[in-house]
């Protein structure tokens, strides 16, 4: 059974349609890249899959359960307990240390502080962040900050990690380090990853690609096109 499934999802912002009947199924443990030009609706699709946005039409299922009909509180709990997130910009709380930033989802989920910090610390050596636990976001490089954000996305051992242009603000080499770590960690944990990117080099880390065009999702296959 697919861990994430979307059927005929449509969503407009005012009079502007962003999605026009997009469908997608993601299997457990898969790493899927959603590609497409700017404004194609790829980020909107990710936000719908993750229960951040509610579509006007269509259905979203997570682990066999329909989630687009849930109330905000239930979707919020789902995002906190089952999903992890990595975005392009501005994810770390500047007043908190790196370690506290990583522990944040656990603290919000009711884990005791000492335990949350202990779990958070385990991620620092795994992501090459040894010794940076006490730094605030202003004292981290772009690549370090993004690895801290990745640790925060993974610390709650989510079933699905949603990553929206996770390397968009990084140079090539740093971006590749982040992708390497993300893929290794996801494989080790069995975490499913839904990755939005417009960069082919980033999409090449995924198991397969889906392209969003004009608000619809198309799987890409290298078989000869049916004409």
């Amino acid at each position: 059974m697919s861990i994430i499934a979307a059927h005929d999802v449509a969503l407009s912002f005012g009079a502007t349609p962003a999605l026009r009947g997009a469908g997608l199924a993601v299997e457990p443990g898969e790493i899927v890249a959603i590609m497409g030009p700017s404004g194609s609706g790829k980020s909107t699709l990710l936000h719908c899959l993750a229960g951040i946005l509610v579509p006007d039409r269509g259905e979203i299922h997570f682990d066999g359960r329909r989630i687009d009909t849930l109330g905000e509180a239930e979707r919020s709990a789902l995002r906190r307990d089952r999903f992890g997130f990595v975005f392009q910009f501005g994810q770390l709380v500047p007043e908190l240390t790196a370690e506290e930033n990583v522990a944040l989802p656990l603290l919000l989920g009711g884990v005791r502080r000492a335990e949350a910090v202990r779990w958070a610390r385990e991620w620092f050596p795994r992501l090459g962040l040894d010794g940076l636990e006490g730094r605030r976001s202003g004292e981290l490089s772009g690549g370090q900050a993004q690895r801290v954000a990745l640790a925060r996305g993974l610390v709650g051992r989510p079933r699905v990690l949603f990553a929206d242009e996770p390397t968009g603000a990084l140079d090539s080499l740093t971006g590749e380090q982040v992708m390497d770590l993300m893929v290794d960690a996801a494989r080790a944990e069995g975490t499913t990853v839904v990755l939005v990117t417009h960069e082919p080099r980033v999409a090449a880390y995924a198991d397969r690609e889906v392209v969003v065009r004009d608000g619809k999702a198309y799987p890409l296959t290298a078989e000869a096109a049916v004409s």
């Binding site: 082919p200 080099r201 999409a203």
Partner: protein, 174 residues
């Protein structure tokens, strides 16, 4: 491979004399490297031998220019298959890919679907190279990177072309 298939594709558009074929080929695909008449007629002879075109006599006089070439069903099937197949993903394939996209638009075929197929073939190769890069030695990684950057450049061209298909179709259709 590109020249025979391109001539066949042009013949699918309409039966033509060798002269017209050369003119259209040079205009759309030659890009400073025009075909010689010898190349055109040699190619047409081979296509005729293989049953992909037939000749029909029209007009008085002699010589190859009096012959009109008509694509056969076998020829049309071959064009179909060639257009739909992705090109082996490797750097510097622009010429073949360019010919395919332009011909597909001329013939009213699904150029966007062909580009998607090509995009998938490129991404598949990029995944293979990424695996090599992630698990190989640094020298392997450097070589893989070289391939990845070139494939990425092709993909950018594919994206841009996909975005311009309507305008391109208006330009090459008649």
């Amino acid at each position: 491979m590109t020249v025979p298939m391109t001539l066949l594709g042009l013949l699918e558009r309409e039966p033509s004399h060798g002269y017209d074929l050369k003119r259209d080929y040079d205009a759309y695909f030659g890009r400073g490297k025009p075909l010689s008449y010898g190349q055109v007629y040699n190619t047409l002879s081979r296509l005729a031998r293989d049953g992909k075109v037939v000749m029909s006599e029209v007009g008085p006089g002699e010589g190859p220019d009096r012959k009109r070439y008509v694509i056969t069903e076998r020829g049309a099937t071959e064009v179909d298959t060639w257009l739909a197949e992705p090109v082996e993903p490797e750097p510097h394939l622009q010429t073949t890919l360019f010919a395919k996209v332009t011909l597909a638009l001329m013939l009213g075929r699904p150029a966007e679907a062909y580009l998607d197929t090509q995009r998938a073939a490129h991404l598949k190769r990029m995944r293979e190279l990424t695996e090599i890069k992630r698990h190989g030695a640094l020298v392997d990684a450097l070589l893989a990177d070289h391939g990845l950057f070139h494939l990425e450049a092709d993909l950018r061209w594919i994206e841009l072309t996909a975005a311009r298909l309507d305008a391109l179709a208006a330009e090459v259709r008649r």
